[in-house]
């Protein structure tokens, strides 16, 4: 009995040892087979996956020495997923990167500083300056190289405009109010403008009204020369009051918009129930599909007494600081940024290519691109919001919606709102120091 027991045990232990040795043997086998260098490319955006996969495939076929594996990361989970991957040493070798996430990943030291490669390749002259400014938001060093830029523009429904007898989009905030009043017909559940209060870039909307009334700070930032946030100034608060009046007094926005998200705004606009909305460049495709290409109009955001300032954003390509094949990654990125590739991909996505040579493409001559491209050329009007500060993501995604919802729903005044926002931005800056 004991002998049998021992024999059984020996068999099991041998089996376990063999199982443990198997991966080692397999690794040796893999090493022995020489093949193309493999790099992984993380794609963390909801749109444009197919286009990016096609480009990766084409690159791998053309360059026999490098093979790109595209790993799709769900956009809604990108920060937790990439954070876990970076800390665990499992992040992709290179990846798409939003300006909104640079503060997290570049400040953590997880992204390669691309300054050397940019200088050596001379690519900087090819990229739109607004994109390069975003790339250098952390310690003035480029941590990504842009592939698209998006101004925060005004979009309008030409059919709704025509039905209300409005000929042209508004040029300033007072005109916007008048046009919105004309477009609004609450009995038909139709509204002139969407006062966005929920998550998804409402900050750019109400803050736009504030800076267009009170002006920007030093170097187009939201801070004055003393390093204090300017958003609690009386003229800035006055701008916010005008924006709030659109919702509270004029009622030109759907009541639900106070807490609604960017997606809700898109749905309502595509249902032809809104005259005007504000949003990013990728909207050009989504909204055109919703209301019809011929009905979609674009314009610059309305000017205020202090001027006409715009917010802008953009995405780029970054390299993992711990990647083994950084040269191969850079070669792939350079391929993606060839004017023809950058143009083709952005055409599908609907944003403005970061490569200036791609701006001559025919599709960019469509009227709907005129205003966004003009905005990007007016670099002195581009607001530099402090996305580089650690904790800015929480400020914009959690703090701002909560504050603006309180203000829109009458739980605090515009002045209290301005102070809360300025204090939060001052606090973020102080902590960063």
């Amino acid at each position: 009995m004991a002998k049998k027991h021992r024999a059984q045990r020996r068999v099991v232990l041998r089996g376990l040892a063999a199982a443990a040795a198997l991966p080692l043997a397999q690794a040796n086998l893999v090493r022995a087979q020489a093949g193309p260098q493999k790099i992984t490319f993380g794609w963390p955006f909801a749109n444009g996956t197919q286009g990016m996969e096609e480009l990766a495939k084409r690159f791998s076929n053309e360059r026999k020495t490098i093979e790109v594996e595209v790993q799709v990361i769900p956009q809604a989970q990108v920060i937790p997923r990439l954070t876990t991957a970076f800390t665990g040493g499992q992040a992709p070798d290179c990846m798409g990167m939003s300006d909104a996430w640079l503060a997290q990943f570049a400040n953590a030291g997880w992204l390669e500083n691309l300054e050397g490669r940019i200088k050596a390749s001379g690519i900087e002259s090819e990229i739109v300056p607004a994109s390069m400014a975003m790339a250098r938001m952390i310690k003035n060093q480029a941590h990504y190289i842009g592939f698209q830029v998006e101004p925060y523009a005004l979009y309008y429904n030409k059919r709704v405009f025509a039905e209300a007898g409005v000929a042209a989009p508004p040029g300033d905030v007072d005109e916007l109010r008048n046009v919105a009043l004309k477009l609004t017909d609450r009995a038909k559940n139709r509204y002139g403008f969407y006062v966005l209060g929920g998550s998804g870039w409402q900050f750019q909307q109400w803050c736009g009204w504030m800076v267009n009334h009170g002006g920007v700070g030093v170097d187009n930032t939201l801070y004055d020369s003393q390093g204090k946030c300017i958003l609690d100034g009386p003229r800035h608060v006055q701008g916010l009051e005008k924006w709030l009046a659109l919702y509270e007094k004029d009622k030109v926005s759907p009541p639900a918009s106070a807490t609604a998200t960017f997606q809700d705004q898109t749905n309502a606009f595509n249902a032809n129930q809104l005259g005007m909305v504000m949003g990013w460049g990728a909207y050009l495709t989504t909204l055109a599909q919703g209301i019809g290409e011929a009905n979609l109009g674009t314009a610059m955001p309305p000017a205020g007494p202090a001027g006409q300032y715009f917010f802008y954003g953009g995405n780029g390509f970054a390299i993992n600081a711990a990647a083994k094949n950084k040269d191969a990654c850079w070669e792939f990125i350079r391929y993606l940024l060839k004017p023809e590739n950058n143009s083709r991909w952005n055409e599908q996505y609907g944003a403005i290519p970061a490569v200036q040579a791609a701006w001559t493409s025919d599709w960019l001559k469509a009227p709907k691109y005129a205003a966004p491209m003009e905005m990007l050329k007016r670099t002195s009007s581009l607001v530099s919001n402090p996305r580089y500060l650690p904790g800015y993501a929480s400020f914009q995604n959690q703090f701002c919606p909560e504050q603006i919802q309180k203000t829109l729903l009458g739980k605090q005044t515009a002045q209290e709102h301005g102070k809360a926002v300025a204090d939060a931005l001052n606090d973020l800056r102080a902590k960063a120091r």
């Binding site: 045990r9 099991v12 759907p254 639900a256 749905n267 309502a268 929480s394 919802q405």
Partner: protein
């Protein structure tokens, strides 16, 4: 004839001999169990221990700063953090408001499904279908149904003449809670229905026959036969559902993002913000430990209450 044998004096085995004997007897079993035990240790105990340790550090990887040991300071900050208490309050509303209606609906569904009628299999499938839908998808479905501008519910209510203008459900605290709790009840009730139905089907029909002979009414049958016999299943199901609901983030996040004005920011949403948006991993870990402790205390109290409840 009975013979007796004198017991031989016992020789005390050395520890080595005892180990050899134990190994001979149980060695194979332990060898086979070892990989699973190792997996449990790696998958469950290590993360728990890690979070516990992390909770006593000031750790912000997004700022590329080395972690600093701060002892219990994070827990002190937690007690003084108004956002934590507000999120805890929202979590309590979320759990109680979810589990109670889900249980009542599930119980009703189970009682109906326990009867014999034509098309019962189809009705069962339809009733149980929401349980198979993910939280995010459920969130989107109900968010669009309740949409304040183009939502179907507003459209139906307007057509029926109940309201004159669309109700902006998502801007008031009360209607927002109503919206998310209805969505969660829709998704969670089938779980109770499955569990209660299984318990109902294990009841011997002879008990009901005996109760009928004794002249018991339907209400009395439920009170004195059904309820005591399904009670254990109900306790376990409500406890599990409460724990899951406490930790849920998907449905609530999809529908409200914690709004309006932070009213539906539950503890998991708050922890998500602290960790991944503020980048305060140490403080976030302390919050997670606090949440875990709260759930352990809640489970223990609930179990204690169960022991003093009816028994079959």
């Amino acid at each position: 004839m009975v013979t007796t044998q004198a017991a031989a004096p016992r020789v005390r085995a050395s520890p080595r001999q005892r180990f050899a004997r134990l190994w001979k007897r149980e060695g194979l079993a332990w060898t086979l169990v070892a990989p699973v035990a190792a997996l449990v240790a790696i998958g469950v105990l290590f993360p728990l221990g890690y979070v516990l340790v992390l909770g006593s550090y000031d750790y912000s990887p997004y700022q590329n700063r080395p972690a600093q040991f701060v002892g219990l300071r994070n827990y002190g900050a937690l007690i003084a953090d108004r956002a934590f208490w507000s999120a805890l309050g929202a979590s309590v509303i979320w759990v109680v408001g979810s589990v109670v209606p889900q249980f009542l609906l599930g119980l009703g569904m189970a009682l109906v499904l326990n009867r014999t009628f034509r098309g019962r299999a189809i009705v069962r499938t339809i009733i149980l279908a929401p349980w198979a839908v993910s939280g995010v998808v459920t969130g989107f479905i109900w968010m669009w149904l309740f949409d304040g501008t183009i939502g179907v519910i507003n459209g139906l209510l307007m057509q029926a003449g109940v309201i004159d203008a669309p109700v902006p459900w998502g801007i008031y605290e009360g209607t927002t809670w109503l919206m998310v709790l209805v969505a969660n009840a829709w998704r969670g009730a089938p779980f109770f229905a499955i569990v209660v139905l299984a318990a109902l089907q294990s009841i011997d029909p002879a008990l009901y026959e005996a109760a009928s002979i004794d002249g018991a009414s339907a209400r009395q049958k439920f009170r004195f036969v059904t309820w005591p016999l399904i009670f254990n299943a109900v306790v376990i199901a409500t406890l599990l559902r409460a724990l899951w609901t406490f930790n849920f983030i998907d449905l609530l996040w999809t529908m409200t993002r914690g709004g309006p004005a932070g009213a539906t920011t539950t503890l998991p949403i708050y922890i998500f913000d602290v960790v991944y948006q503020k980048g305060q991993f140490g403080y976030g870990a302390a919050l997670a430990v606090a949440l875990c402790m709260l759930l352990i205390v809640f489970s223990a109290a609930y179990w204690q209450m169960h022991r003093s409840g009816p028994s079959p």
